[in-house]
């Protein structure tokens, strides 16, 4: 895929991989065990400008293209899926605001989000509304010149430390999105621990109990939160997850190749055994295919093409499943040592499964993609 990158994109990818090798990979197991990312690491991401990757420079960001955003996620994804989630979610919130926020909202919220001075969370999922986002129970009620927000959000990544939530709910029968600062009276955050994977991603349940929301904090117009605001955030969430999954897949491939080259069985290395070669061949081919899907999706997003959504669904659908398969095979190649926390592949195995769940399950992706492709029959003629 390297030949598809510009010199600058390629150079930045190298910079990202160096950053990950020094600042992420040596600590990822500890973060996983302690179920938290240290503030110092998030500060490093912030000072590197990574949180503002896609935000224009006049709003405090780097203004990098989406292909570069994908490369950053790929590099971070190899190091730590949990850390990558902070970039995923920050970008979901930021890009939703960049597209649909008022000029005042952009000036107020985007610079601190871009600089990482403030962490955001995308509060969409509810205890009884995951993939079925149309059945949100969170509700806003108009009261004078503001709104009163009531509801509960669950499985919200980064919510443990987020300073602002982009909350989705209903206003009468209309879907709405609004910004809610963490310190607003009536907001309470309960950490969720002991997840199978993404253990440092700071998940929490967030309750809103008669929280006063100024009218100025509504994002987009009522009635369009689920049809237009959320899909922009989810698009970046899927791009990020697809590329992060690709990074995890590369981690499995590199670990497996290295292990197969040094581990001996009798007088042969594992790499000389046909069955091991088969497993590594599958990983390598999936990595190559996933790289192309991710690149095409990111490039289509850069070019603001309608097919970007379809390509992104395909990239996320493919790499998340390929990551699960690669992680399973990487553990298999390592044997007992692959089942221990001291080996990155045991974490990869747990993290990869989460990628098939977040930003739309594999089955939701199949449903959406299947419908899209069937609806496009005329295009094929």
């Amino acid at each position: 895929m390297q030949h598809l990158l510009t010199e600058q994109q390629d150079a930045r990818h190298t910079e990202f991989k160096v950053f990950v090798a020094s600042n992420v990979e040596p600590f990822a197991e500890q973060w996983d065990r302690e179920q938290a990312i240290p503030d110092s690491t998030l500060s490093l991401l912030a000072t590197s400008g990574y949180f503002g990757c896609c935000i224009p420079p006049d709003l405090g960001g780097k203004g990098w293209d989406v292909v570069t955003f994908g490369l950053l996620n790929e590099a971070l994804g190899k190091g730590s899926s949990a850390l990558t989630v902070f970039l995923t979610v920050q970008t979901m919130v930021s890009m939703s605001l960049l597209k649909w926020g008022t000029p005042e909202q952009k000036r107020k919220w985007l610079p601190p989000l871009a600089k990482g001075e403030m962490i955001g969370a995308f509060a969409l999922t509810e205890p009884d509304a995951g993939s079925d986002i149309q059945s949100l129970a969170t509700e806003l009620i108009a009261e004078g010149d503001h709104f009163i927000l009531n509801g509960t959000k669950k499985w919200i990544s980064c919510a443990q430390i987020a300073a602002v939530f982009l909350v989705f709910g209903k206003l009468k029968q209309h879907s709405v999105a609004c910004l809610v600062p963490r310190d607003a009276p009536g907001v309470s955050v309960t950490p969720i621990h002991d997840l199978m994977g993404f253990r440092g991603a700071g998940l929490a349940e967030v309750r809103f109990n008669r929280v006063e929301v100024p009218a100025d904090n509504l994002v987009g117009r009522p009635g369009f939160a689920l049809s237009h605001v959320a899909p922009v955030g989810l698009q970046y969430g899927r791009l990020s997850t697809a590329c992060s999954g690709l990074g995890l897949l590369r981690g499995c491939l590199e670990e497996s190749i290295a292990y197969a080259a040094r581990r001996k069985i009798g007088d042969r290395t594992m790499g000389e055994i046909g069955m091991i070669r088969s497993l590594i061949a599958r990983m390598g081919t999936d990595w190559e295919a996933g790289s192309l899907l991710c690149h095409h999706a990111c490039k289509a997003q850069d070019d603001n093409l309608p097919v970007a959504f379809e390509k992104t669904l395909m990239a996320k659908y493919f790499t998340s499943r390929a990551a699960v398969s690669a992680a399973s095979n990487a553990v298999q190649i390592r044997g007992a040592s692959g089942c221990h926390a001291s080996s990155a592949v045991s974490r990869y195995y747990r993290d990869a499964k989460i990628m098939e769940i977040i930003e739309g399950t594999t089955q939701i992706h199949e449903s959406m993609l299947g419908k899209m492709l069937i609806d496009q029959t005329r295009r094929l003629k």
């Binding site: 987009g220 049809s227 237009h228 309608p306 959504f309 295009r379």
Partner: protein, 87 residues
């Protein structure tokens, strides 16, 4: 009075819609939402197509069902956005 430019815009939109959704034909006044052919993913795809094809930006203030409910409505919306930009 509907101009030739507006008719071209509507034809471009019709071609995109017919290539993207599984329906036989689409009249200028057919309501896209009542027909149930616009889900959330397709809504942003349509928005992106309009932005890309007609070189304009759909903004928060433009989020109004009246702007996108039919070919006539979307054609008028594109004309309105382009004329504002030319002022």
């Amino acid at each position: 009075m509907v101009t030739e430019i507006e008719n071209d815009i509507k034809q471009t939109l019709r071609d995109f819609l017919l290539a993207s959704i599984n329906i036989a034909d689409l009249d200028d006044e057919d309501n896209l939402f009542e027909l149930g052919i616009v889900n959330s993913l397709f809504a942003v795809q349509l928005m992106t197509f309009i932005e890309k094809t007609f070189d304009l930006e759909v903004e928060a203030d433009d989020l109004d069902i009246e702007n996108f409910k039919s070919l006539n409505a979307a054609g008028a919306f594109v004309m309105k956005k382009k004329s504002r930009r030319n002022i």
